[in-house]
């Protein structure tokens, strides 16, 4: 019964998701597409940071590895894009294992530094290995297509980006039903205790780095396919920080959190612009309001860390419960009255 019910629910969600391009303009779809790519990447970082407790400031660089590998294979070997994305993901996973290996000895701030080094190192490689990456000019790639069907428009790319995002969500939520997923959580909660009960902390940390980087590689490849261009500036440190912000704002250690965070951070500039445009009508100081945007971003991260460490994934259900409570309370009162009568 429960299965049937959930089946219906998922079918409805799938049907609605499938029809989004029919009633949305290109602009909305471009926002949704970028958000969907961010969801794929953020779910990946959340596996590492939220579930395994390992911080990474090199997520954008791992995205870059996937993007460059996929782009290189597509332009030079004319590989089908799905295969190229997959290999891009695997290449990122390997990079993740290599740069994640210091996690055996390093924790917290020191691990953050080590992953920061990987970000800087890989950025340098992107910029200077010109024969492969095209250097700072980057490389052009064709719009993805299957059997002559091109995903070159926002409408069509939507299915690709959303498809990958849904697979990412589904696989990640199932990961934590497996032994490996539970080992991650055990390491996050107390790595020494995890070792005592027989979990090889090093092995599972590396697996976590590999899986997380695989997601990053896929997200990076998708971004490259969407932009039809791979350039180093898409994978700089500030992008890594944005992904960390997605995990923090969304709520570390929850899949829903990664989704909320990715959407929130992707749409935040548009939201703030919308508000500042209204304010600018009363106080015409465009430059000041524009600067306000960056401040708001920083301020939000601080406020979330201080007051809502569980992030949006905790706030949104709470709001839901509050609404539910309003109705229930009314119902409860009427029951009480009937009892008195």
């Amino acid at each position: 019964m429960v299965n049937k019910k959930s089946l219906v629910k998922w079918a409805v969600i799938a049907a609605i998701l499938a029809t989004v391009p029919l009633y949305s303009g290109n602009y909305i779809l471009s926002l949704v597409n970028l958000a969907a790519i961010a969801v794929t990447g953020a779910v990946g970082l959340n596996i590492l940071t939220g579930y395994t407790g390992q911080i990474s400031l090199g997520h954008a660089a791992f995205m870059g590895v996937g993007a460059y590998v996929a782009g290189y294979l597509m332009t030079n070997y004319h590989l089908p894009f799905l295969l190229a994305v997959l290999i891009g993901g695997i290449a990122s996973a390997i990079a993740g294992i290599i740069f994640g290996s210091p996690s055996l000895r390093l924790k917290g701030l020191y691990l953050a530094m080590a992953t920061l080094a990987s970000q800087i190192l890989l950025e340098y490689v992107f910029k200077n290995w010109r024969s492969v990456t095209g250097g700072v000019s980057g490389m052009y790639i064709e719009s993805p297509s299957i059997l002559g069907f091109s995903f070159g428009t926002d409408q069509r790319f939507y299915y690709l980006a959303m498809g990958f995002a849904l697979i990412a969500i589904w696989t990640a939520s199932n990961l934590f039903k497996t032994k490996t997923g539970r080992a991650f959580i055990a390491i996050r909660d107390r790595d020494i205790a995890a070792e005592i009960i027989g979990i090889s902390s090093f092995k599972y940390k590396l697996i976590s780095f590999a899986i997380s980087s695989f997601y990053a590689g896929v997200a990076g490849s998708l971004l490259a396919l969407y932009l039809t261009l791979v350039v180093p500036e898409s994978f700089v440190l500030s992008v890594s920080i944005q992904y960390v912000a997605m995990v923090i704002i969304g709520g570390p250690g929850t899949i829903a959190g990664a989704i909320y965070g990715a959407i929130f951070v992707t749409l935040l500039p548009q939201g703030i612009e919308y508000i500042t445009n209204i304010l600018a009508q009363f106080y015409p100081m465009e430059a000041l309001f524009a600067a306000l945007r960056d401040m708001t971003f920083g301020l939000l991260i601080i406020l979330f860390l201080l007051f809502e460490p569980k992030g949006l994934s905790d706030i949104i259900p709470r709001i839901g419960r509050w609404f539910k409570g309003l109705f229930l309370k009314k119902g409860g009162e009427s029951r009480n009255l009937s009892h008195i009568q």
Binding site: G25, G135, S173, K177, T254, Y260
Partner: protein, 410 residues
Amino acid sequence: MHFRKRKISLALVIVLVLSLVVAGCGSAGSSTSGTGGSTGGEKDKITVGIWGTITGPDSDVNGMSYGTKDYFEFINSKGGVDGYKYNALLLDGKYQMEEEIKLFKRLSTVDKAVVINGWSTGVTKALRDEINNVVKVPFVSETMLSDVIDPQKYPYIFTLGLSYEDQIKAAMLWAKSKGAKKVAFLHNDAEYGTAPTTNVEKEKWVASQGMELVANISYPMKATDLTSQLLSIKKLNPDYVYIQDSVNNIIAILRDAAKVGVPADKFIGNFYGVSPIIIQNLGDKANGFKALQMYQSWGSDFPAMKDIEEFGKSNQIQKKDQYYLKGWVEGMLINEAIKQVIKKNNGKLPELAEFRKQVRDALEGIKDFNPGGATGNITYADHKGFSTTKLLEIKNGKYTEIDDWVQVTK
């Protein structure tokens, strides 16, 4: 476990609701803007989309965006073009590629802009297909990299003025006229620095002019100490050194050049090397430094400046420099093309796709157009407009014009 599942599905539901709401807003917004058919007695507005780095790393040259926006406001204050007023939208791309892409999609689909005035090299490259083959919207970019300037391959992309490569050539031609035998390039390691200098080097253009390119030296974009690079320059002793970079790094270069004993008068900067900040920072050490100027000096006597001064009486002018003049001239060109299209259609506005195509054709057809004396006459068939530039030199703490216009052979 069950709770997490519920959370995920709740997240998806919220995403759906949000996308529905946003989609609703989007379509509601689009029905009120754009250039569609005439509504009642009042004439429609013509939407022009502009974005620049209002906040971000290269905001010191964002006069280019303010200038275009202000020109359309100026035309509006004069009653518009053939009675049609402009709806000129100025947005902040923050010099972030994803933000700029969002703005392009918004301006091209939600706001239904007839022409878009965009910003960075990266985004112009990323959007090349969409601009030319999908949306087909005239796109006047602020980039000067020759990679995207190709009227056949990219018929909808326009730039204005000399490409970075042409700027190098103009400076070298000037150096040649001063009897230079040996020259060198100095550039940052970003695309902006690397690509143009490498292109000119590969072309062996300097040698074709009878000079020797003794070095093409790269340094990190965010370098704080450039003494080692400048020591190499000192050793090679070229007659002139061309700097392919902007204000901040030019200051670092001239500061370290003074340290190792290379005089500032050996250095020539590009179009982004004209800034009072250089003089403020370096004082006497800046004397002799040269940079290119494609537009008339701000405040000198020419018709476009009179218009700007008139506009400035009732409006605040954000940036008073040659970058603003560039933006102003871009506005003039776009306005000229739109004016021609309206005339061709007997005072009516064509439907959007046709409007965009006709504006593109009109832009390309602009010939010997005088931009109020702000620069030489413009012929836009090559999508660059003009190929003349002046050189400025810092003399006694002031940029002073030296010699007359230098012409780069097309």
